[in-house]
């Protein structure tokens, strides 16, 4: 059933070389995270692509690995925090910005609903997936294997390696508006809780999140920050004002066990149209339906299923798939078992509720396994679904809407129309309703949404589709178009969203097209978005998301944009949107924003080293107050590195209170660090104390007035500067009565 050739890439021998780069990340996050893969996303980078390789890094669970030499070396280097782990090849410097970009892009993936018949869920539950069919395919949607080619609105194609979709239980989408948070704590508090939890599990004394400072000196993104980012981008629930979480398509699945397959499919379809799976009226109901027949390889006859599948294709068209799965549960000891990859995009509440499971029943190690053949089948299904149905469907919708709605709006008449809307009653517009009171009247004020077939909603949907298809130019121009409409209607959340996404898509649009972005204009858009989100709509989570997007995207632009990024991060802290852990993370981020602006070649001014160093120190202070001395120590080290250029060779701050503060901080970090280490003796701690080199003598008389003002780098001449210094510090001629002024 499984060909050995298929298994090869999935389960390489212990000496598999790609394991080596992972050593570094493990050095930083040794313990629990290996099995829980909680902070793993950086390992699941699109370029590494194939999800099944992830479990290989699992030291504790796979005995075969722990015997391998590389695994042993991991253990021994674990306790050494500090720069020992820096030299690993995978900590690529340049990738950092691209990584965050990719992360942001992938967070805006199309949503595909899943609606399966009870018999399908039953089949899948036998395999150990309690959540049914949706849970089974969910992790595989996040990374579409291979390159995906997307055509943009002007007809040029581009391939993407990191494309993915989000499988969502269709019922959840339909339920969503009724109980937004189900009385649970706010999403932001949940994010904070996830972070705190993550910290507690990783911040065993010796580990701590040591930031992969790359060799070039640009700070890259710490894994913890990535987790924060990912969580923040995952909290958005279905809401009227943006359509990213609205289903683009829905998978309707039945199994070969179904006695009346075609009728079941019809019933399921009917449910999505007007039954219990009917979407709210601000969601466009004409999403793609995709029909899947799950064939039970272990119990059912394939010829019967094939026959049924042919019937399905006749009735429902091309958007069908025959998925062949085994219904037996796979256990780790099976020959061709493959661990099910972790979901990359779990919402904070899911993370909080699901995480303990693997910890509780460690015997069955809580991890799910699939037969290799199943994995291949699911992957093939996902790829076919997305490449042949979902993406073409979206491309088509964008083209149609662009033609029918947007171009009219963009044209002269469209402009006139939008003008006339402002003056109520001038010329009846060709659209469904005529304006009143300066607004189009399409906006349902009491409920706060546009009906799905109003042009404002369709344009927004088109822009979002374009955005998800990574046609940022079209997206940006469409959002721009929408901004004034929403303002006229006082649809503030829509308004904020349009400004936010307009700025985001402008920033995502690659520089190539000679489009020099103006930071001021971008800042202005974020400013407006923020104001509308927070003040007009009191939507703190979305405000924070908006600000964080601003920070990350501006930062990735570099130069003066990075400076602006730092300011947005400060704004986020200032508005009280983040709590303690978030404050620490954002401080680190501000530091790295400033650090990403090095002075131009040849001169010593123009950098932002002092600012970067300052924020790093503040971050250290915050971590310390949170009781995370390991993190604080890392920040302190980073601060020292950043300050190295601007302080004298003795590393002493010229200003006394600053020095006192730093000295105290160092001492407390050291004490805290040693205490934490003392509590856990089991951990083999490295002999090298990472703080040793941070000891600085408390010299009170710091460097006296240097004679040369700038030339201390390369004193020109021995006769003047250098000798002056030596003569002052005690000449060879002590009785010299020659004095200097």
């Amino acid at each position: 059933m499984t060909s050995p050739g298929d298994a090869a890439p999935v389960k390489p021998p212990p000496s598999f070389s790609p394991g080596v780069p992972r050593v570094s990340s493990k050095t930083r996050y040794p313990e629990r995270r290996d099995s829980s893969a909680s902070l793993d996303p950086e390992r699941v980078e699109p370029r590494i692509a194939s999800p099944p390789t992830i479990p290989l890094s699992n030291t504790t669970d796979l005995p075969i690995r722990s015997g391998s030499p590389s695994a042993r070396s991991v253990r021994s280097t674990t306790p050494q925090i500090g720069r020992t782990s820096l030299g690993s090849p995978l900590d690529g410097r340049a990738d950092s910005a691209l990584d965050t970009r990719s992360l942001i892009i992938r967070s805006f993936s199309p949503v595909v609903g899943v609606y399966s018949s009870p018999d399908t869920d039953e089949l899948v539950r036998q395999k150990g997936f309690k959540g049914g069919f949706w849970e089974l395919i969910r992790p595989f949607g996040e990374n579409v294997p291979g390159k995906l080619v997307i055509r943009d609105s002007i007809g040029s194609s581009r391939g993407w390696e990191d494309y993915g979709v989000r499988f969502v239980d269709l019922g959840e989408i339909c339920r969503a508006p009724n109980d937004p948070n189900q009385g649970r704590s706010s999403p932001l508090a949940q994010v904070e809780a996830v972070l705190a939890k993550q910290l507690d599990s990783t911040d065993g004394p010796p580990s701590g999140a040591i930031h992969p400072q790359d060799l070039v000196g640009l700070s890259s993104t710490s894994p913890l920050y990535k987790l924060y980012l990912r969580q923040l981008l995952s909290i958005a629930s279905v809401s009227p004002h943006e359509t990213f979480r609205h289903p683009v398509a829905s998978v309707i699945a039945i199994s070969s066990r179904n006695s009346a397959p075609l009728e079941s499919l019809r019933q399921l379809y009917a449910d999505t149209n007007n039954g219990q799976r009917k979407v709210p009226e601000w969601i466009h109901p004409e999403y793609l339906r995709y029909y899947v027949l799950v064939h039970d390889e272990d119990r059912d006859d394939i010829t019967a299923s094939t026959k049924l599948y042919d019937q399905m294709k006749r009735h429902f068209g091309l958007h069908c798939h025959l998925l062949r799965l085994r219904s037996n549960q796979c256990v780790v000891t099976d020959d061709d078992s493959v661990q099910v990859p972790e979901c990359e995009w779990l919402s904070p509440s899911e993370r909080l509720s699901e995480r303990p499971e693997p910890l509780v029943d460690l015997d069955s190690d809580g991890l799910l396994y699939l037969f290799d053949s199943d994995v291949m089948a699911i992957k093939g299904f996902v790829r076919e679904l997305i490449a042949q149905s979902v993406v073409p469907f979206m491309e088509n919708r964008v083209a149609v809407w662009n033609d029918q709605v947007a171009s009219r709006r963009r044209g002269i008449s469209g402009r006139f129309m939008s003008m006339s809307r402002k003056w109520a009653g001038f010329g009846s517009s060709s659209r469904s309703s005529s304006g009143s009171g300066g607004a189009s009247g399409n906006y349902n004020v009491s409920q706060g949404y546009y009906h799905y077939d109003h042009s404002e909603a369709i344009l927004r949907k088109m822009a979002d589709y374009a955005f998800m298809l990574r046609d940022w130019k079209l997206a940006a121009s469409t959002y721009e178009l929408l901004r004034s409409d929403y303002a006229n209607d006082k649809a503030w959340k829509y308004h904020a969203g349009a400004y936010e996404m307009c700025a985001v898509s402008t920033l995502l649009n690659p520089l190539g097209a000679g489009s020099k972005i103006k930071v001021e204009a971008i800042d202005q858009m974020f400013d407006t978005a923020c104001y509308s989100y927070l003040t007009r709509c009191s939507d703190a989570p979305t405000t924070l998301r908006c600000l964080t997007l601003a920070v990350e995207l501006l930062r990735s632009r570099g130069g003066s944009a990075a400076e602006s990024a730092a300011k947005w991060a400060m704004r986020a802290m200032d508005l009280g949107l983040v709590e303690s852990v978030g404050q620490g993370l954002l401080s680190e981020r501000i530091s790295s924003c400033y650090a990403s602006r090095p002075p131009p070649n040849g001169v010593r001014f123009g950098g932002r080293r002092r600012k970067a160093g300052m924020w790093s120190l503040f971050a250290a202070d915050m971590w310390l107050r949170l009781g995370k001395p390991a993190l604080a120590s890392a920040c302190l080290e980073e601060a020292e590195r950043l300050y190295a250029d601007v302080l004298g060779s003795d590393g002493v701050f010229p200003m006394p209170e600053m020095q006192t503060f730093v000295d105290n901080l160092r001492l407390s970090v050291k004490v805290g660090y040693l205490e934490a280490r003392g509590l856990d003796i089991k951990e083999e701690t490295g002999s090298t104390d990472p703080l040793d080199d941070e000891e600085t003598s408390e010299k009170l008389d710091r460097r006296m007035n240097r004679r040369s003002l700038i030339g201390n780098l390369n004193p020109l001449d021995t006769a003047t500067l250098a000798q002056l210094q030596t003569t002052r510090d005690g000449d060879s001629v002590p009785s010299d009565d020659f004095e200097r002024a």
Binding site: I710, L716, F738, A741
Partner: protein
């Protein structure tokens, strides 16, 4: 051999004039000069309650000091510097060091005076019409500052020439020529010391100005006698690597 009678305005800061020469240490300090920088609690305030902060910096700007007294003073400075020197180079180095702090001070004084003279004499006037002089950012403005205003402040006339090294190997070298340096007017150098040029003191001043402005430089004085100007002196300015690099960056940035 015409020596136009030049008056030195070098020490023209009147009562606080002694400050300009670094060798003042040996002169018994006058109490009213001493007060402001003393750290001891028993601050000695002069009897007339006038500290240096109460004196106007511009009052003496047009006052001139006697050339004779300057010649005498400078002679003493050379003598002082000559004690236990190891050679001519050492002597020149000491003279240079004496000039250096003067350069730094003159820089501030020069800008202060230009600033306050361009606006009305009273600083408190709220007239904003006069724009204060610019700090030199590039080498050329700096050299013009030395060649013109600084020389005028010191010697009441501009320097005689300003040249750039023609050699491609030394683009960082510039020369300022003084046909008849005041400091050398009354100094006759013995034959065995004919390499010596006491204008090393002035070179030190220039160095102080350059360094103060942020242009790391090494300045030396060299004898270049001509028929007409037997004590013609060339001040050779060699700017440091960092300065030259910055020049390139600033040029690209369009800074003048």
């Amino acid at each position: 051999m015409s020596h136009p009678p030049r008056r030195s305005s070098m020490l023209s800061t009147s009562s606080s004039a002694q400050t300009v020469t670094p060798s003042e240490k040996q002169v018994p300090p006058q109490p009213q000069l001493q007060t402001p920088t003393q750290s001891n609690p028993g601050l000695r305030v002069p009897s007339n309650r006038k500290t240096i902060y109460d004196r106007h910096l511009n009052r003496s700007r047009n006052a001139e000091s006697s050339r004779a007294s300057f010649a005498f003073l400078f002679g003493e400075m050379v003598t002082y510097a000559q004690r236990r020197v190891t050679g001519i180079q050492d002597l020149e180095r000491r003279l240079n060091e004496q000039g250096y702090p003067l350069g730094l001070r003159l820089l501030d004084l020069l800008f202060y005076r230009t600033m306050s003279s361009s606006s009305s004499s009273a600083l408190s006037s709220s007239s904003t019409s006069a724009s204060p002089p610019n700090r030199p950012l590039r080498i050329l403005p700096l050299l013009h500052l030395i060649h013109g205003p600084l020389w005028r402040l010191l010697f009441n006339r501009p320097a005689d020439a300003l040249e750039h090294s023609v050699s491609p190997d030394t683009p960082n070298e510039y020369m300022i020529t003084d046909n008849d340096p005041l400091v050398n007017s009354y100094i006759s150098v013995p034959k065995e010391m004919n390499q010596l040029n006491c204008a090393a003191y002035v070179a030190g001043i220039i160095e102080g100005v350059c360094d103060g402005c942020g242009f790391e430089a090494k300045v030396t004085a060299h004898n270049q006698p001509t028929e007409l100007w037997p004590s013609r002196t060339i001040f050779l300015l060699r700017f440091g690597e960092s300065v030259m690099e910055r020049e390139k960056v600033l040029e690209r940035a369009g800074v003048k």
